[in-house]
Symmetry: C3
Subunit: 434 residues, 3 copies
């Protein structure tokens, strides 16, 4: 199933929410207006005027009006997609009705916002029959306003055990003639409310990591051609923690994340892109030490790995697990095993081009070699590692390139930054490979 | 879905099993009799006279009689609920019939145990159709004895891959007119038999941690308004290990655990309650160091974090990842990032009251501040951290208070201990908040 | 459900793939021919002539012919089962048709391979309806060639989110009158393609660990009487890493793994068998230190645990978490808690025999004791630990013995190695216990 079947974007890195109406300000729509004017790395792939949790209940009718005003005025220039969040709750018919009314208003073509609007975000969904209720309201909105069926996409926030279970039912229900669930776009985790719904407790009040929820969300996205997005990371000042969470998410196939501030948007837009320069790592004990490029050689600074020459071609190495004596060959093999390489965008393009050439020449699998000269303590060693690439390896390695191409194509406002970061020729080759 | 829809208790901390008949004793019911007379923190929320694995097969008919005798005599005074476990196996019709017969006897109103009996525990269930067989027997028992439908609850032990899969089917089956699965109460994991059923092997013979099983059990409880309970921790002397397991379970929303001894009951009754005094932690490397309260200041003893003044407003800090130089502002931010606070019951009540007041004043989100003066090495630093609280944060923080209120209300025999632990005024405020 | 209901083997340790046709060689079937002649620990439990990813697309018709030739000639002497992998893809009808044609040819009784053939491996399956398509083709192959229904088993490679979801549907679909899914044999994970399908990214290009996928595969095997096998470990030189992965898999009930080389086959055939001699471990910080047997005493070499006598019956111990003073009893209890024992095959047989004797004497649970004299620093301590064994413990402990018996029975070519490793009397007792 193609990820771009229903929507332009195959990848969404950033999901940025803005309060729709703030009380006691001259202009209650000020935050919305400011968010609509973000550009470049500060602008999200998906912008979410949030008429639910970020906005006080008493301000939500005004919030719906503000969405209409701001999207009508600025929507044409917003670089990402626009998906307002309306109110919804699996346990509350009146909340659902309120959400329906707001969607009906916001999507009214006579009000001017519709043409810039991509879809709606539905929070607090329950099991799959509850998802269908929201889908049905969207179908009615479309008919009422004379829109094409499925003109409006629907994204859901998974923040209950019921909704997590629905993720596994989705593939059986999508495509049935009595619903329009093909309109689904994003599956977004909402860990704060999920934690409440699961009645979990942590001693400090912090959120549990919920690895199974994120796996199940990513799997449902994969099985149904949708896009998985992680929930908010509310410790806004902890930039390292935000990056660790995104790295962990990417290993689960969840490439997008909620952003609460323009600063988080920048981090989350840039994080999934391959680095501009490659990096050798040394795996010492339970952490990875970055080797420092000293003009073509890679040095291990600090004392994480102790390596000494104790005689002609004899070495003593201490990796923290005890001291071992090694000869030159053993040393080479040990270092090959301890080192890892983080390829740059240019490295990935190189490998893909090499494999494509080999495939054209009739080869099914080739060994990709990588060499480096390491300096550790008083010892200089040249190492060479290789890895077999076949069609499957090639396909799996292609994901960051697919992401890069999707960003470059759909976010012209970020092209300059990408060209500065990688250089024009690498960008051009990255756009032509695959 | 309300957790107290069908049953009085919304939380179950402890599930304590007792053999129903021990051979070669003067009184084969002695252990049962002793367990029935436990009170206070030694008494479990759910007491399980165990006519299955804890009792030899040849003693189980006598065991059923012992349950009737002991529950008739002592049941009125047992502070928790009473749920005998009968025999059952998804692969054995004769075992299922034996379980049915024992339930029929034990629940006979003329025998005197019924009025103190809350339900039955069914072990070794298979897929959802097997759960329905047990439910049907309970329906027949109820009709046969002239009881109201669903008078008897049913709890199941999840100890097979089939039963784990059934957890995801439950919400589609519960409420169908041909079953009474709404009688379900506890979902209890049974890791020993589960390990056998999954054919898992560990080198030492210890049990695997099965994180996915516990997640799936907790999720099914959440989605169906039930209560999740973890299986036995059989290394009885390892109190630290038992607490670590319970902490991990709470992060999954699984607040109850099996207890094999009155000592484990005490630990498991107390573990999920918030502490009486708050605690600052310092996150150093891969562990949390508790700071020591030295009369209003919090000191870091030992050498986990090295901090030295190296000049006017310049500091050197070593967190184990290498030495860094920091100015006063950087030091403050670093320490804010490294410290965490474990709130006491009183702290949680404070925060909830603050948020409730703010909400009444029309605010949707407020910053909760917390300050402390830390003493590390020769340096004294005052830090202030804040965290945004909105409705969702408030709701998620409320779980330990809900638990506390449930315990206080339903376990009068534990009130004195709670008052001694927290002080009367904190207990009173905790009962009134939320 | 019995694991040996449909097939001879209840356990599969090794799944070894060989390219069916390599271009540019004198004999394109050379690798296939060599693999067919592996014996003993180098020979896999399941041998997979791989007409999919290991073979170039242009060579696959020749590959199918090579399978027929080599299996006809050598199949009778291959010690394991033979399950060729054919092409298949959930998204490509022409690939599915090609796979069907190859199966029709290879299973033609007139061609001579069939009598040595156990089944086929189907890669890249999608949801359960896609599995049924492959099953249906096998039913047609069987009818076309006049074979008994379900004569050919079917194993699938789980390498998409859709297929992972199908694992949970299997038990509802297996046994329906319009399919023959009872022919299922192995559920094999394929992490390279799965990573692509999930669109996961790691910085180094290595595979994510996918713990949930492996759990779900193992659970489906358990619930449906099938056998779970992990995917390829492509860092062939990293023997330690391969063993760590297998240890982790065994804790999930996944006892088999893909092998890419005869060297990996040896490791994977031996790894799940219990060790020939027991081993005491000391759990220090985050790792396990093996104690060294010094003639009946077990010594802790190195400085992982520091223990000193500081007076008459007073000791100082440093486990890395800080120094504590202990008296003799506390020292004993601390060491009991820190030590673990890895039982040998002989130890497991001993314990099972002891429990069987106790059960015959009417006991339901007995304490298994284990004693040792430890030498740490200048201190010699004798410790005794015990563990309660009941029927469930016995059943769970039995898995490695069931595996051993299955191997000994079905792999006569490995008996000599087993006898050398364990000694004849231990092997004989292991074959008679349980």
């Amino acid at each position: 199933m193609s990820y771009s079947q229903h929507y332009e974007r195959s990848f969404v890195r950033t999901f940025f929410t803005s309060p729709t109406a703030v009380e006691g300000k001259d202009d209650s729509a000020a935050m919305l207006r400011r968010a609509a004017q973000l550009r470049g790395m500060e602008a999200p792939d998906v912008w979410v005027p949030d008429n639910e949790d970020a906005t006080a209940p008493s301000m939500r009718d005004e919030g719906a009006e503000n969405i209409i005003d701001v999207v009508s005025e600025h929507g044409a220039d917003v670089p990402g997609e626009i998906h307002p969040r309306v109110v919804w709750h699996r346990d509350s018919p009146e909340t659902r009705f309120q959400g329906f009314q707001h969607m009906l208003e916001i999507a009214d073509p006579d009000r001017g916002a519709l043409e810039h609007l991509d879809g709606f975000v539905i929070p607090e969904v329950g099991d799959i029959d509850d998802w269908k209720k929201a889908d049905e309201f969207l179908t009615i909105v479309e008919r009422e306003h004379g829109l094409e069926e499925r003109r409006l996409s629907m994204s859901v926030i998974v923040e209950s055990g019921q909704a997590e279970l629905a993720l596994a039912d989705l593939r059986d229900e999508i495509g049935k003639p009595t619903n329009n669930l093909e309109r689904l776009f994003l599956l977004v985790d909402g860990e704060v409310d999920y934690t409440k719904d699961m009645r979990a407790i942590t001693s400090t009040g912090g959120l549990p990591p919920w690895p199974e929820l994120r796996h199940n969300t990513s799997r449902a996205a994969s099985a149904n051609g949708l896009i998985a997005v992680d929930g908010p990371y509310d410790d806004i000042r902890d930039v390292d923690g935000y990056h660790e969470r995104m790295t962990d998410n990417r290993m689960k196939g969840m490439l997008g994340i909620w952003s609460l501030t323009p600063g988080q948007v920048i981090e989350a837009n840039e994080s999934p892109l391959p680095p501009a320069t490659g990096q050798w790592l040394l795996d010492v004990g339970d952490r990875n030490v970055e080797l420092v490029d000293t003009g073509g050689r890679y040095a291990c600074e600090g004392d994480d790995l102790e390596l000494t020459t104790i005689g002609e071609g004899t070495y003593e190495v201490d990796t923290g697990d005890g001291v071992r004596k090694l000869d030159a060959d053993e040393l080479h093999d040990t270092l090959v095993e301890l080192t890892e390489y983080v390829p740059s965008l240019s490295d990935i393009v190189d490998s893909m081009e090499q494999f494509e050439a080999a495939k054209e020449a009739g080869e099914g699998a080739i060994a990709m070699e990588r060499s480096a000269t390491l300096e550790i303590g008083d010892v200089t060693v040249s190492i060479t590692s290789d890895r077999m690439w076949d069609e499957a390896t090639y396909q799996a390695a292609k994901t960051p390139i697919d992401l890069f191409q999707d960003v470059y194509e759909h976010r012209p406002d970020q092209r300059e930054t990408l060209q500065e970061r990688y250089g024009e020729s690498v960008v051009e080759r990255a756009m032509n490979v695959g």
